[in-house]
């Protein structure tokens, strides 16, 4: 459960978010909007990567501004570029890195890593250099490294921008199958259509908030109005 309470944000003298009030309880929430409309900034408020200049964000009862470390342990974050999220040389080491504070023994860690890579279809690449993975495989690895810590909430900022259709669908299916609450920013309308709730952001405001088809329609209208 994610709550935005009067959230506004400025970068210098440029206002990027204004008056955001949201109560997100649905299991899967989509966010869509034009380039530069403030979607990433909004998503980054959920784990404290951006600290809003006004208002507050609360995740499962924790105030992001005050209890940032605890919030970050509960919120997993997936970035658009998987290449920058993999911080260790091989998939096995990267997943193990996430478990560094789990208090597991070496053999327990190895077992968890193996089981996780298996689940994400990366078992055959455990010890290969991460640089040799395709973008799709890298994004799966990024997801594996985040989900292995079992966060309560997953925020994804355009997780499929660099992926082909097959990997996009694979990642989408994976996200839909998760028990966690997912907040996903995307420009891919195919991923939004079936959602129960879609937020449309424009120039730093929420301009529509409804089910998938309604959100997609508003977004299309917005884009086409701008095009003239």
């Amino acid at each position: 459960m994610i709550t935005f309470d009067g959230v506004g944000h400025r970068f210098g003298d440029r206002t990027v978010l204004r008056g955001i009030d949201l109560d997100l309880r649905e299991r899967f929430v989509g966010v869509v909007g034009a380039n530069g409309s403030g979607k990433s900034t909004l998503a980054r408020c959920v784990n404290g990567l951006v600290r809003p200049t006004s208002g507050r964000v609360v995740v499962d009862g924790l105030d992001v501004g005050r209890q940032t470390a605890r919030v970050r342990r509960r919120v997993g974050f997936v970035f658009p570029d998987p290449a920058a999220q993999i911080v260790m040389p091989t998939p096995a080491e990267d997943v193990a890195f996430s478990l560094r504070r789990a208090g597991l023994s070496r053999s327990q860690t190895t077992a968890r890593v193996e089981e996780t890579l298996e689940r994400f279809g990366l078992a055959g690449h455990a010890d290969h250099p991460a640089g040799l993975l395709s973008s799709g495989q890298r994004q799966l690895l990024a997801l594996a490294s985040i989900l292995v810590t079992e966060p309560d909430v997953l925020v994804c900022d355009e997780p499929t921008t660099l992926l082909d259709l097959r990997h996009t669908r694979r990642v989408a299916a994976l996200l839909h199958g998760l028990p966690q609450q997912v907040l996903m920013v995307t420009h891919d309308l195919e991923l939004l259509g079936g959602l129960e709730r879609v937020i449309v952001v424009d120039e730093g405001r929420v301009v529509a908030d409804g089910d998938g088809p309604a959100g997609v329609a508003t977004y299309r209208a917005l884009m086409e109005a701008d095009a003239c």
Binding site: R10, F11, G12, V50, R51, T53, T68, A69
Partner: protein
């Protein structure tokens, strides 16, 4: 989209304080590096390695290869300041010792440390420190005169001084003889210093806010 730094953006680049304003976050340990600094340091270490990869040119003479790696060393100081620049170089030295071929021409391993020219490698660390310390004199802005002074004194002066001393010691040469052998490499390094300052000035214009603010440790 990469995010741009502005003065009151909490994600802006700065030394070791990115999260310290956030209550409940202990923040980077007093002497440790914050996550963002760590990312910069590792990236510039990797950049130095990558600059040694394509076509290393070995000048005939003394086994010290002329490549863009020393350009990378100066650049680390000019872009990140002394502390992080020196740490980036230290990482390269450490990876070399661990057994990775991180030096120009695919050299690496403990053998490098037994060799007569290891002083030039070890000199990178204080060399980048001096380069960055001088380059950050006008921080957060980048000053070309100070940057040039840094590249010349740190990137060339300190590196060559240490290199020559170690060469004289390890190869039982008179320091003057070692210095004479070394002089061949100075013109190339002058060109690289000039290139490093030009590139650093352009990068600082494209991405402001990279140098540590004055008052922070350089």
């Amino acid at each position: 989209m990469a995010t741009r730094a502005t003065p009151d953006d909490p994600t802006r680049r700065e030394t070791g304080t990115s999260a310290s304003s956030v209550p409940d976050v202990p923040g980077p340990r007093a002497r440790g590096l914050g996550a963002r600094d760590l990312a910069y340091v590792a990236t510039f270490a990797a950049l130095i390695v990558v600059l040694g990869l394509p076509g290393a040119i070995f000048a005939f003479g003394s086994g010290v290869p002329i490549t863009l790696q020393t350009f990378g060393v100066m650049l680390a100081g000019l872009i990140l300041g002394g502390r992080r620049g020196a740490l980036a170089c230290l990482l390269v030295v450490a990876l070399c010792a661990l057994g990775l071929p991180v030096l120009a021409g695919g050299r690496g391993g403990l053998g490098v440390f037994a060799g007569p020219t290891v002083g030039f490698l070890l000199g990178w660390v204080p060399g980048a420190a001096v380069t960055g310390w001088l380059a950050a004199r006008r921080a957060p802005g980048f000053s070309v005169p100070w940057g040039t002074a840094g590249a010349l004194l740190g990137g060339i002066g300190v590196v060559h001084a240490l290199g020559v001393l170690v060469l004289a010691w390890r190869a039982h040469l008179a320091p003057s003889a070692a210095l004479t052998a070394d002089l061949v490499f100075v013109p190339g390094d002058l060109v690289k210093a000039a290139l490093a300052v030009v590139v650093a000035a352009a990068v600082h214009r494209a991405v402001p806010g990279l140098l540590p603010p004055r008052g922070a440790r350089p």
